[in-house]
């Protein structure tokens, strides 16, 4: 029981940065824009979150800085791909490389700085309930925020007119444009949202998960978030579940090791990536599944005048 609780809590924490980044990317992709720069936006968020929190001593200013940093990186991408019609794949990759390099430079003086991170909330009464108290009412505030963002994304995409328009643009920007919607403007907003969410994911890593800054500390989590969107076939619920699944694999791997089951750790380390490949293969065999949920215009530039 205790082990199960521990695995549950550790999985929630490990999955949270993925939830933020993947939900943000999902919204951007739903509008038809493929931004491969998630890793770069995440690491930019992480470094600025840490830098601002360390300088001001106010953790939440760090979170805010991360959101702005992620959005600023996304804005760069948006200008290049939406206004100047550059190739989205190339621009996204460039954004990641740029983000990793720039964050390493910015964070040079902050490696090894000690910071008291964002701890779990302390809710009286509810937090002391047996079993469900620690499971539901003693998480850290950013984890709750990830739940809120999930609900907000689902509500926005499937329950609002604006969400419908955004999805419409992802399917057929030309039709949306013909009806009179500002395709480029809405895509800008979707990409900025994606960047802000990736920044939040970075902030979670640098302020709550491991309150420290080291170069390249996102360690490929941005790429996993990208894979998750495909893994979840562009459905927020599945993306969220996938995030916990991927986060949890490492936790379970360590538990298996500690119990002493003879399984090479290298094999276990490969599991998240193997799982992604397997799911990619499986869904590509069911073309219908992709066609229903994948935005038809994903990754294609659109110019209203064309």
């Amino acid at each position: 029981m205790e082990t199960a609780t521990a695995i549950f809590l550790a999985t929630l924490a490990a999955g949270t940065p993925l939830v933020f980044a993947a939900l943000g990317e999902l919204v951007a992709e739903k509008s038809g824009v493929l931004n491969l720069g998630v890793e770069g936006m995440m690491i930019a968020g992480a470094v600025l979150a840490f830098l601002v929190a360390a300088e001001t001593g106010v953790l939440w200013l760090g979170v805010l800085a991360a959101v702005l940093a992620g959005a600023a990186m996304a804005a760069l991408f948006a200008v290049v791909t939406l206004s100047f019609q550059a190739n989205q794949v190339a621009a996204g990759l460039a954004l990641t490389i740029f983000g990793i390099g720039a964050s390493a430079y910015l964070g040079l003086d902050y490696t090894g700085v000690a910071l008291k991170g964002i701890g779990p909330v302390d809710i009286p009464v509810l937090g002391e309930l047996p079993v469900i108290g620690p499971l539901l009412f003693a998480l850290d505030p950013l984890v709750y925020l990830s739940f809120v963002m999930f609900a907000a994304v689902v509500w926005f995409l499937y329950r609002t007119k604006a969400g419908l328009v955004l999805r419409g643009i992802g399917e057929s920007p030309a039709s949306a444009h013909a009806i009179g919607y500002p395709v480029i403007g809405i895509r800008y907003l979707a990409v900025l949202f994606g960047g802000a969410m990736a920044g939040l994911g970075g902030a979670y890593l640098a302020l709550a998960y491991t309150p420290l800054w080291v170069e390249a500390m996102t360690a490929g989590r941005g790429w996993i978030a990208l894979a998750l969107v495909v893994f979840g076939t562009w459905r927020p619920g599945r993306v969220m579940l996938g995030a916990y699944l991927f986060g949890g694999i490492t936790i379970v791997q360590f538990h298996v090791q500690a119990i002493g089951i003879d399984l090479p750790p290298q094999v276990l380390s490969m599991l998240p990536y193997l799982a992604t490949i397997v799911v990619l293969v499986l869904i590509s065999r069911h073309a219908g599944m992709i066609r229903i949920n994948a935005p038809a215009s994903l990754g294609m530039s659109y110019h209203p005048a064309a």
Partner: protein, 360 residues
């Protein structure tokens, strides 16, 4: 107008320095280069080497000129940096990461007049020496502290890769714990990475769930100590004193020190007495020690640690002193004998009391 002036001053400078040599008989200062694998920060491997460089530069004053290059990736880039040092007339170059081994050897062949010292490697040449630290001596002492503070008799060890260097540490730590607590066991989790704070935290959490109430690590970040602080248990740091990352949790840390060694070696080169050899220094050489011990640790334990430290220093005690059995109960080091350096350097077994299976 500027150029002649500059030339003039350069000539004057040269004349003056020649006059200086004639007057005092002193040679040009020795140029000493350092190649670091990670940034100089407040804690960790490179920080310790940088501290050593500063001590050496301070001790030798104007007899040396030192320079370092940080964040040099292992491989092709390292070769370029090392070659640059040699080409710029550096007389001694310290390359401080295992992955610099082949680039160091390669550059050394082209620059026979430059001396090279490579940390933690095993390849030497006429002008290449190697050096390392007997971390296991410090690990044993830290084990005594951990073993006396553990109530669950279980320590958690977050380790990077199952290589002899790391296994020596795990085994020495476990033997140290058992010397004060015969029931003590160690659980190990391999993260397969020297530097991934996220994974180190996750591993720490798992070890706590599995009953460990004191943690230590052979990875490079401070995540394990920070996590121990959050979880209300104890931790033993590594590389540097990590107490500021977990003031309550931090029992002590196994630290390494290079200042005296760098000073000694550089002096040898200056005096022309340097020879290529392997230096493997421990407590006796002042290259390993424990960070200040947490006041929560009982006085008699602190005294015991001091005694053992002294015994290791004067050679009357060796952490791997028989009888030592392995995990399967087989006798590895017979009673009355100690392990040879050669066997230490190819260690590939767990001592009795380490739980879990050693990955192959």
């Amino acid at each position: 107008m500027k150029k002649p002036g500059f030339l003039l001053s350069a000539v004057t400078g040269a004349l003056l320095s020649m006059a200086g040599i004639a007057a005092t008989g002193a040679a040009e200062p020795l140029k000493v280069g350092f190649v670091y694998v990670s940034p100089i920060s407040d804690a960790g491997w490179t920080f310790q080497h940088e501290t050593g460089r500063r001590q050496m530069a301070a001790a030798l004053g104007d007899r040396v000129v030192t320079k370092f290059v940080e964040q040099v990736p292992e491989g092709g880039e390292a070769e370029r940096v090392i070659r640059q040092f040699a080409a710029d007339g550096y007389g001694l170059v310290f390359t401080t990461s295992f992955g610099y081994m082949n680039p160091t050897i390669k550059v050394a062949k082209r620059f026979p007049d430059t001396k090279f010292e490579h940390a933690t490697g095993y390849k030497r040449d006429k002008n290449v020496g190697t050096y390392n630290v007997r971390f296991y001596e410090g690990r044993y002492l830290a084990g005594i502290v951990a073993g006396s503070m553990s109530k669950s008799n279980t320590a958690g060890y977050v380790a990077a890769f199952p290589i002899p260097e790391v296994l020596m540490g795990i085994n020495a730590f476990t033997l140290g714990m058992q010397s004060v607590n015969p029931k003590a066991t160690t659980k190990v989790i391999w993260t397969n990475s020297w530097y991934d704070p996220g994974r180190e935290r996750e591993a720490a959490d798992v070890l706590v769930t599995q009953g460990a109430d004191v943690l230590t690590h052979h990875t490079d970040s401070t995540a394990v100590v920070q996590r121990a602080e959050d979880r209300g248990i104890y931790a033993v740091g590594y590389h540097s004193d990590m107490s500021k990352y977990g003031p309550r949790a931090h029992l002590t840390a196994v630290t390494h020190h290079w200042g005296d060694f760098y000073t000694r070696l550089t002096q040898e080169v200056i005096e022309g007495k340097w020879t290529s050899r392997d230096v493997w220094g421990g407590i006796a050489a002042g290259m390993v020690s424990l960070a200040p011990i947490n006041p929560a640790v009982p006085k008699e334990i602190v005294a015991l640690v001091k005694d053992k430290e002294e015994a290791i220093r004067n050679g009357t005690f060796h952490p791997f002193q028989g009888p030592v059995r392995d995990q399967q109960g087989g006798m590895r080091i017979a009673g009355g004998t100690t392990i040879s350096d050669e066997d230490l350097l190819k260690m590939e077994w767990y001592v009795e009391g380490v739980q879990g299976k050693l990955p192959r």
